[in-house]
Point group: C2
Chain length 365, copies 2
């Protein structure tokens, strides 16, 4: 199948660019002696996860929902961390059943009651779970405070069937801070919290083999700190417009060489009736809009100026576009965009090589 035959709008993955990104991250973690657990919530794809393990230096993945973990484990991924709390009774049972399918499964807790619920669930199902205590290191979302970490960890350690593995310390709110120096400054709070939490665990005589976290915007900081043993990057594999425009450590935009855009929404012009504009057939149901407008790849005279439910409007001041012309849009935010689609159209060498299902699309539970 040729690219011309793809029905629009379509979620297209440039597998050559994907592989370049995966190899770059594999080189990074190898050079820096840190492990990599890529974030499956971003791509929701068992095929991408397998590729990250095969050539991308990853030893496992993380995801955010029990139903995602089920999808990944059933698709053959053998090491899955739910980097989130699981508190609902039905979800606890589903989580505790997962190791019996042959996977190493981990989960986070951020209070003592959560430990008790996990312990009861593994006891019901005769299984074991890895458990990380989530530390609030600045995102002000989930996560215990430094002063609470040791008591929660001790409760995990004491619970049969729960293996205390260390700390979950991801600071999501700093990932998109624009400049590198500002992100570096934001990381100071993270490092202070992680250092203090590790000290509290050590003082309590508790081992902390794993400190995991870091995202595409910050992972060189977690790595350089010496505090982390594992990175959880996700978006580096696909890139998007929102990550693309922030600066890396070299002061350059992240999409200016550090990472290649591998994910596109392919769209087609379906109206040129109005002067100076073309209307394409992809809108908010083909890409999420909360992180800004998509970029038009490789067409410097064209910009997306509006995204509505079913359309995107392209400013075309020179009137170069015609009905049926295809445009490659870099979506604002890859995670919720991927979740809108059932399939990736995978390209290699300029041809359609494969269709990959979005294995965990809509897995919200």
């Amino acid at each position: 199948m040729t690219i011309d035959q793809i029905q629009t709008p379509a979620l297209v993955l440039d597998l050559d660019a994907l592989d370049r990104n995966l190899r770059r991250m594999a080189d990074f973690v190898e050079q820096h002696g840190i492990t990599l657990r890529t974030h499956g919530k971003m791509h929701k794809s068992a095929d991408v996860a397998r590729r990250q393990i095969e050539i991308g230096g990853a030893h496992g993945i993380c995801c955010q929902k029990v139903s995602e973990a089920e999808a990944f484990v059933r698709a053959g991924i053998r090491d899955v961390l739910v980097s989130n709390q699981v508190r609902d009774a039905v979800k606890l049972d589903r989580l505790a059943r997962l190791p019996a399918l042959g996977a190493r499964v981990g989960v986070c807790v951020d209070d003592l009651a959560g430990v008790a619920e996990l312990a009861a669930a593994v006891a019901r199902h005769g299984t074991e779970l890895d458990v990380l205590v989530e530390l609030d290191c600045g995102a002000r979302r989930c996560g215990a405070s430094v002063s609470e970490v040791a008591a929660i960890a001790r409760a995990v350690e004491a619970a049969p069937g729960l293996r205390f593995r260390g700390l979950q310390a991801y600071q999501g709110a700093m990932q998109h801070v624009q400049t590198w120096p500002a992100r570096e400054a934001a990381f100071a709070e993270v490092a202070e919290a992680v250092r203090a939490a590790k000290a509290a665990l050590a003082a309590a005589g508790l081992p902390c083999p794993t400190v995991t976290g870091g995202g595409t915007g910050s992972y060189p900081l977690e790595t350089a700190s010496g505090l982390y043993t594992e990175l959880q990057c996700g978006s580096y594999a696909f890139m998007d417009a929102d990550y693309g425009r922030i600066d890396g450590p070299d002061g350059q935009r992240l999409d200016a060489g550090a990472w290649d855009n591998a994910l596109f929404v392919l769209t087609q012009v379906m109206s040129t009736a109005g002067p100076g504009r073309a209307v394409c057939d992809a809108g908010l149901k083909a890409m999420s809009g909360e992180s800004g407008l998509p970029l038009v790849q490789g067409r410097s005279g064209l910009t997306c100026e509006d995204l509505s439910d079913e359309h995107c409007r392209i400013a075309d001041p020179d009137g170069v576009l015609s009905i049926g012309d295809k445009l490659w849009l870099v979506p604002g935010h890859c995670d919720p965009t991927v979740n809108l689609h059932d399939w990736y159209v995978g390209l290699r060498g300029g041809r359609v090589e494969t269709l990959w299902p979005v294995t965990a699309r809509g897995k919200l539970w």
Copy 2:
């Protein structure tokens, strides 16, 4: 099944509130002698469409994509307008095949080349299509200008298999203008364009049996103008936070009595580790975020202050929330929220009555 047993996050439809909204709109169109073709792009549900036809005063529906129309026709809806241009060769064939399934099918055009493509498609398949000329009446998206309408209509009229039905004149950009007087002022441009286009058709000796358009924010204006024969409202049936906060003709918010919130994302508290906040299990993959944050229904002390990929953070200054507590969120924007889900959980009288599939979820083509 009881409400307590619903797994979160879930898309929940209060069928009592839905029925009240449908009956209100049915009363309106009956009183005002205007017809109603409800917008199926909003709900993507054959069950909601059927209910709109049964009790809601609708004689048919519209939708935006050929694949949506296919889903509705296959589910038994017998009068479907694709209120959009169809220009791709594969989609033209799919559209032209649809009437053979026993439905009356319409579509829009906004240039002469589009007429020729539709004519060729119906000739290939031996079918007929209703055709509306789309008029750009101020949204600056698709649509011909007033000066082009008559020539396009004449071409439709001359094409075997195409039935010229009139004008598509929907002004999407004015729907969310905050105050009623400002929306009234915006409608002046719409009315002027529609009046001029009708005059141009009359001068060319072309009948214009249908003028269709209007949305939840503007439909009293289209109705009062006397220029329109048909309304295309969608969101009135479910309401959302973005429509809820605009003023109606009475100067009151639309969600303050005019329309009931029927659509909710049911979510559950899964972390209370941080002070003054609770974190729930619904984020950008359970509701779209580009139109603002969701409202917390019926809990005046609680506000959603952040929506991230997997979580929403609720400000809970008095610490009233506990793990497992359920909250009913009114999503910012119903259309792209519905498209994230496979099922509606339908409640009636406070119990789960039904599961309705989101028939056209992900139908982007």
